[in-house]
């Protein structure tokens, strides 16, 4: 693609222009520094956090919560998605309850989980799980039901048992659906645990942001946001690579500029 470099240059230009306008606006007095902070201050704060190492404990807590929420949510979602896709009667019975549970705004559960599981990491993990679970569950369910019946029949004619059918046909077939849900659910897992920390915690990036907000420290809030965004992007890139490897049997679609 001849325009590749050209696009990079413009991408960079947009970022520099936005940050420059922000910095310039504050310096020129058009934006109030108290409410908007400044990119340079935010950068300095990030540098401070990294130098003192104070950010690592918070980031570690948030990542551990998100990772646990993600793993538990994915495991439950895949298992349940499989079970219901293979047992349509059970699915029909549970259908209204699944809808009701999914219709609940998850944020309102945060205070309840705080009561149930306390201020530690498990209340955040629980909140994250409720978010991740449904995304993965619905995608897995769909993925398993959309398996090409010819592939299933062929495997059965070749002598596959139920277990072999699941392992060699259903799971790989559902994988591309499951992966499309992983991208979304990583972001949502982070959001959920940060919201949980925000509402009540003694550690974590959400706690850090809440603390900064409590003293009207906008620089701290923005710095916390920057950390979260960077982490979600990094984890997403990891998932992308895993996906490329696991779905290497798929014909490559032409790269989009968003990848």
């Amino acid at each position: 693609m001849p325009g590749g470099n050209w696009i990079r240059v413009w991408q960079l230009a947009v970022g520099v222009a936005a940050l420059g306008a922000w910095e310039g606006g504050v310096r020129a007095g058009l934006l109030d520094q108290f409410f908007f902070s400044r990119p340079s201050d935010i950068g300095a704060r990030l540098g401070e956090w990294l130098r003192s190492g104070s950010i690592w404990a918070h980031l570690g807590t948030t990542l551990a919560e998100a990772a646990l929420a993600f793993l538990i949510g994915v495991a439950l979602g895949v298992a349940m998605g499989f079970a219901l896709a293979r047992m349509p009667r059970l699915a029909a019975v549970l259908d209204p309850y699944i809808r009701i549970a999914n219709a609940l705004p998850r944020v309102v559960l945060a205070p309840i989980f705080l009561l149930w599981f306390g201020l530690g990491i498990w209340s955040k993990v629980a909140l994250g799980v409720t978010v991740v679970f449904f995304i993965v569950f619905f995608n897995t369910w769909q993925g398993v039901r959309e398996v090409d019946p010819v592939l299933v029949n062929n495997a059965r004619m070749l002598g596959a048992s139920e277990r072999q059918l699941t392992r060699h046909v259903l799971l790989p077939s559902a994988l591309s659906w499951i992966f499309s849900s992983l991208h979304i659910s990583i972001g949502f897992a982070m959001i959920a645990v940060v919201v949980g920390e925000y509402l009540g915690a003694s550690r974590g990036v959400g706690y850090l942001i809440a603390q900064a907000e409590g003293v009207f420290d906008t620089t701290g809030v923005f710095a916390g946001m920057a950390v979260l965004a960077a982490v979600v992007l990094a984890v997403g890139a990891g998932v992308n690579r895993l996906e490329l490897w696991l779905l290497r049997w798929k014909p490559r679609v032409p790269d989009s500029t968003y990848q």
Binding site: N154, G159, S173, W249, K250
Partner: protein
Amino acid sequence: MASPSQPAIELRGITHTFGGSFTALKEAGLEATAGSFVSVVGPSGCGKSTLLNIAAGLLSPSQGEVRVFGQRLEGINRRAAYMFQQDALLPWKTVRENVALGLVFRGKEMPVALREADGWLTRVGLDGFGNSFPYQLSGGMRKRAAMAQCWITAPDIVLMDEPFAALDVHTRMRMQQEVLELWGNAGQTVLFITHELEEAIALADVVAVLSAGPESRIIAEHRVDLERPRNLVDIRLDPRYQELYRKIWGDLREEVLKSFAGR
């Protein structure tokens, strides 16, 4: 192996109704002696695939029974391999893994199964493509892989559902020739479904004609006494082939016209 006169597969009085209302087959009967190549022709929508799925045990008939080497069939037909019209290779497995699949399902160790698969890949002319994924192969090559996938399990019966319908004319002829070679070497009983009479006669010992649907049944069976091995490139010029063609087309023509009128 069974005695030569025993039917490898018998379909007796098969009636099949979908969803309680649409009767695809009514009292259809067919038998294939062990080692014979039987083609079933019929107009589109006449329930050919339904008949084959019943022979495979993928569908159980509403009425009637299937006997495989004299045994009543319950569930999947374990002595049969099935070659589908659509691509049925698992897209996430390499070609050699796909070919080895039937052996792996039967409990063979993976390395042993893969080694055997490599031998089959050579036999069907796919040397060097073992580590490709199906999407990287042409339609004809995928069919070769599907053939190897079927034959590797050493089935007694091979069921084929218009396996080459999606291929171009020349590739199809090569595939047909290869099927005849595989069959000639191993001597399975083949039940071959097609809507094309040329293909049916060129390949088979017996051509059975299925009537237009719904409520299809077998209305005629014709013996094809062209000698083997056959040369498919020139067989269409053989006067006896043409005579058979005219005779069987006489039966099939009516059904094709009926199927036009039915829709």
